[in-house]
């Protein structure tokens, strides 16, 4: 039960993009088309779950026993970068169609602060339980995908709208829409208290 709460809290209440302001760049950058945003969301979710497990292992088996926790930023960044490379090679060799769908989004994830953010949050809050870590990672990924896809749907409609004031065209109106979505997600606040 607690696991489901952790998952829902990461996905909705503390939504990475809309409540924690993490991963805003891909949220703004890759949300022009619905199809691309689904691909990006799926890629981020996969990397986030695997990275959560991998950083959990490295943190508890290497960094803590050898007393080098202060290196965690550097280690995690390279771990994520390496993971992304590995996943890409694996998909390319064994799961061609998936590689075609996710391939171009994978390299973008290396410097995605949502992924690094979630693994840093993991070791802050759930450094003693792999199950909670995984639930948190999965929830974060699903929440990111949810926000990204909803936002892309709105932006696709917005493209056809000619009545946007000239000064607001482009980045500003995108920001305002994101702000309105963020207000909508504020409605989840207080629903789950951990």
């Amino acid at each position: 039960m607690q696991l489901i709460l952790v998952f829902l809290s990461a996905a909705l209440v503390n939504n990475l993009v809309l409540a924690r302001s993490l991963g805003v760049c891909p949220f703004i950058g890759v949300s022009k088309q619905l199809k691309a945003s689904v691909g990006m969301g799926a890629a981020v979710t996969v990397v986030m779950v695997i990275a959560s497990a991998a950083t959990f292992a490295i943190f508890n088996l290497v960094l803590v026993p050898f007393d080098v926790v202060f290196l965690h930023i550097i280690v995690f960044i390279f771990l994520i970068a390496g993971l992304v490379q590995l996943i890409e090679m694996f998909l390319k060799k064994y799961v061609q169609p998936l590689h075609k769908a996710l391939g171009i989004y994978l390299p973008l994830i290396t410097t995605n602060c949502a992924v690094l953010g979630i693994v840093l949050l993991n070791i802050e809050t759930f450094s003693d339980s792999i199950l909670y870590t995984l639930a948190h990672g999965l929830g974060g990924g699903i929440g990111f995908t949810l926000a990204l896809t909803l936002f892309a749907g709105i932006r696709e409609k917005m493209e056809k709208n000619d009545s946007i004031p000239k000064a607001l065209k482009g980045l500003p109106i995108t920001m305002i829409v994101a702000g309105l979505m963020s207000i909508a997600f504020l409605g989840f606040a207080g629903m789950i208290t951990l």
Binding site: L18, A19, R20, S21, L22, G23, V24, C25, P26, I28, G29, V30, K32, F70, L71, I73, I74, I77, F78, A81, P107, L108, I109, T110, T111, N112, C113, L116, G117, L120, L121, E124, A167, L168, G170, L171, P172, I173, T174, M175, I176, A178, G179, L180, S182, I183, L186
Partner: protein, 236 residues
């Protein structure tokens, strides 16, 4: 490109106005939105980022003939992450309150896209002095961007000005201090900034389109020159 042999002070101004990393390139939005609840937090984040930016760009510039081209990105990230760790320790030791307020976002300086974009597009091709000016300009531009957003959000959302509380009668719009407020304030600051810049720099035509499709993700991930998001630092 300006004569790369000479010190070029205009690089500082360029980072603050013409190519402000937040307002024109939409880089590093995550710290911009997350920490600007108060102006002081914005200032702290800006200075921390500027310090990491200047130090890592300088190092990249000094090593630019040594770093092999094929592995330059991992090396850039390594340099940046090392300086971030140093800054995090300094903050933990001397400014623990600020460190707690900024939290995880100090660690996230390591993958800040402004830093990676500057290292990739400017420092790795230019001598140390100009790199320093460029880094300081970009850092100041980022800091100012954060302070302006921070002041507005603190004033309207939190009912305080630079940490001093306003009288109780002053209306507070709390939503501006919450995550949505960051998006709203940034949107309107961008509109005003673009107007202001176009008015004062109309002599120099700028690309009218802001890099909406860009952002952190593509700042690093497309090394090729045709990447639309990467700003052509130093080549204007």
């Amino acid at each position: 490109m300006a004569d790369s042999k000479r010190a070029d002070f205009s690089l500082i101004k360029k980072g603050i106005l013409e190519e402000n990393p937040v307002y024109t390139s939409a880089l590093a939005l995550c710290p911009t939105l997350a920490v600007t609840v108060t102006a002081v937090n914005g200032l702290g984040m800006g200075i921390a980022t500027t310090a990491v930016l200047t130090a890592s760009c300088l190092l990249v510039s000094l090593l630019r003939n040594v770093i092999p081209n094929a592995v330059r990105i991992p090396i850039f990230i390594l340099i940046c992450a090392s300086f971030t760790t140093v800054v995090q320790f300094l903050l933990q030791a001397y400014l623990p309150a600020l460190n707690d307020a900024l939290g995880m976002f100090i660690a996230l300086i390591a993958i800040n896209c402004i830093i990676l974009a500057r290292m990739e597009s400017f420092s790795s091709k230019n001598p140390a002095l100009n790199t320093t000016f460029d880094a300081i300009g970009m850092g100041l531009g980022f800091t100012l961007a954060l302070i302006i957003i921070g002041i507005i959000r603190e004033f309207i959302g939190g009912g305080a000005f630079l940490g001093f509380a306003l009288p109780e009668a002053f209306p507070r719009t709390t939503v501006l201090a919450l995550p949505p407020g960051g998006f709203f304030v940034l949107a309107f600051v961008i509109v005003i900034f673009t107007k202001f810049r176009d008015k004062f720099f109309s002599g120099k035509p700028k690309p009218a389109k802001v890099a909406v499709g860009g952002g952190c993700a593509s700042a690093k991930a497309c090394p090729s020159a045709d990447c639309p998001a990467k700003d052509e630092g130093g080549s204007s």
